[in-house]
Structures are given as C-alpha cells and as structure tokens.
C-alpha cells in the first residue's frame, strides 16, 4: 500500500516536473527558475527531515535505555540537529542567492 502511494507520488512529481514549463509559459514571463528553486528547497527539507528524525529517534532510544545519560544525550542531539539543519540552510542560502 505504502509502496503504491509512494509510486504515485513519484509519478506525479515527475509529471509535474515535465509539465512545469508548460505552466510557466502560460504566464507570459518566464519564472521557471523560481519553481526549480522551490523543488530544490523541498528536496533539502525532505532529506533534513529524515536525518533529523533518525537522530531524534536514536536519541530517545538511548535515553530510554539509559535514563542516567539523558542530559548528555540531549546535548548531543541538539548539537547534531544543528549540524544536520545546516545542510538544509545551505540550500536555503543558495536559493536566496539565485532568486
């Protein structure tokens, strides 16, 4: 079921990628770049979300196994989340520069 939904989502995404110049041409001015920038930001956000959820999940797992180490684990989670977030923020800055 999930695989089917994922397949359809992928197909819709690819279709919209192909169809995007058609939409953009209808507006007269070509602001195709803006759409591509939005897609780039979306991919970066998706990867950042997956990575952060893995990090937080593993951190919760560790904290529940060893509650004594919760403070250390919280500290490293926050530090790691900042590092992961930086990758999405780099994309954000590139998007801002190209905009």
């Amino acid at each position: 079921m999930i695989r089917k939904i994922g397949f359809f989502a992928l197909a819709i995404m690819i279709l919209s990628l192909i169809a995007m110049p058609v939409y953009a041409q209808g507006e007269g001015t070509s602001n195709i770049e803006v759409h591509y920038l939005a897609i780039a930001m979306g991919i970066a956000a998706a990867g950042c979300g997956i990575a952060q959820s893995i990090a937080v999940g593993k951190g919760c797992e560790g904290a529940s196994r060893n509650p004594g180490a919760t403070d250390t684990i919280r500290f490293f989670i926050i530090l790691g989340l900042a590092f992961i977030e930086f990758l999405a923020l780099l994309t954000f800055v590139v998007v801002l520069m190209l905009q």
Binding site: I78, L79, A82, F86, L90, V93, L96
Partner: protein, 241 residues
C-alpha cells in the same frame, strides 16, 4: 525584503543624522540600515540592564532575576569547563556576552515593529569572524606557533601535506558555517512569519512564533557551544604532547 522600521527611521532622524551633520555629512536618507540600529539598541539595552542588575546584586538576599542569571552563567561555566578542560572564567566574558547578545537579537524580531539583527548575514558574520580569530589566537598562545601549526599537519608525517590543506579548508569553513547557520535559521523564521501574516494576519503565525521562541534560544546555545568546541580544540593540544 526592504521594510521601513519606525524605530530605525526615528533613530536615524533624531540621533544619527545630526551626529553625521556635525562631521559635515548631510543626508536626507537613513544613514544606518535597520539591522545596525537594532544592534545599537540591543547594545544600549544590555549595557543599561547589566549596570542595573550589578547595582542590585546581593549575597544575602538574591532576587529572582539574580537567581535566573546565576543559573544561566553557572550553566555556561560548567559546560565550558567540560568542553575546553581549562579555567572557564578565562572564556566566560566572550561566551556569556555572545549568548546574551544573540539571544536578545533573535528574540527582538518577535516584537512587532522590530527586526532581528541576526537575520542579516553581516551581523552574524561579524561574530563568527571574531570567534575565528579569537580561537586561533588562543591556540597560538597556548601551544606556540610551531606546535599549533604541527597540529594542522596531522598525526603522520607521510600525509602531512594533504592533511595541512584539508585542515586549513575545514578551519576556514568554520566561520562560514557559524554565520550561515544563525542567519539561515533566523531569516527563514522571519520570512515564514511574514508570509503567514500576509496570508492571514495575527492568528496563523502564532504557533510559528512559539517555535521561533524555542529556536532562538537553541540557536544562541548552539553558537556558543560550537565556540566552546573550537576553543577546546585550540587549547587541548598542549596537554597530551
């Protein structure tokens, strides 16, 4: 994204332009941009606040504000001691003022009529470059020139030329990553709040502002923790050689 801020206009019109006029520079426009005005406001506010708090400090009867500030500063102190392994009082002036300055800068953007100075990359880059020079200075002072340079070359002599280049690049990426991290977070937050407010005023942006309250503190914390990590990396090599 160029907004007119009332505070910035008033500050420029009544304070900055007359002072610039004394030196023979006349202008009908705002001389200082809005983020610099906000920086000056935070600087003045923090200075006055610290003088007021210092005059009210007492050992026998500490107030709530004093206790909260003591909690924050002792937390920063113990964290610094863990991360750098040296006397934390040596680095506390830098780290403490960075923390309060960034925290105030991030939170100022949540008030209507003000902007976060940290949503401009020049402000964050100034702090990051200062941190970069400071930790290199500390490293040179603690280890001496030759030893600190030898630490760049890595453990083995064989790969030293390669390691040296990689280390130099990674050290130069540090101020960039520090400044872009803070700037990106705060600017994205302001952008989201602004666009949500444009769609539906006041109500929809409130949860995002609550997240912003949280993220502001986290970003200030992360900035000083990374500074501690860099300081620790610069200082520690004198011990185990």
């Amino acid at each position: 994204m160029h907004h007119e801020f009332f505070v910035s206009t008033v500050f420029n019109h009544y304070i900055v332009n007359p002072i610039a006029g004394l030196f023979g520079y006349h202008s009908h426009h705002d001389i200082l941009p809005a983020h610099l005005v906000m920086v000056i406001l935070i600087f003045l506010g923090l200075t006055i606040f610290s003088f007021i708090v210092r005059s009210r400090l007492s050992v026998d009867n500490p107030g709530g504000l004093q206790q909260a500030l003591e909690l924050i500063s002792s937390g920063i102190m113990s964290l610094t001691e863990d991360m750098t392994g040296t006397d934390p009082r040596r680095f506390f002036p830098l780290l403490g003022s960075l923390f309060f300055y960034i925290l105030c800068g991030n939170l100022l953007g949540l008030f209507p009529g003000f902007m976060s100075p940290t949503s401009n990359i020049n402000v964050t880059a100034s702090m990051a470059i200062m941190v970069f020079f400071y930790y290199n200075y500390v490293g040179f002072k603690a280890n001496g020139f030759v030893k600190y340079m030898a630490h760049f070359a890595g453990p083995a002599l064989m790969i030293a030329p390669l390691m040296f280049v990689i280390e130099i690049i990674s050290h130069c990426a540090r101020p960039f990553s520090l400044s872009v991290r803070l700037f990106g977070n705060i600017y994205a937050e302001e952008l989201i709040i602004g666009s949500l407010n444009a769609m539906f005023p006041f109500l929809v942006a409130l949860p995002v502002m609550a997240i912003g309250l949280f993220a502001s503190t986290i970003q200030a914390f992360v900035f000083i923790v990374l500074t501690m990590v860099y300081l620790g990396g610069a200082v520690e090599h004198s011990d185990h050689d």
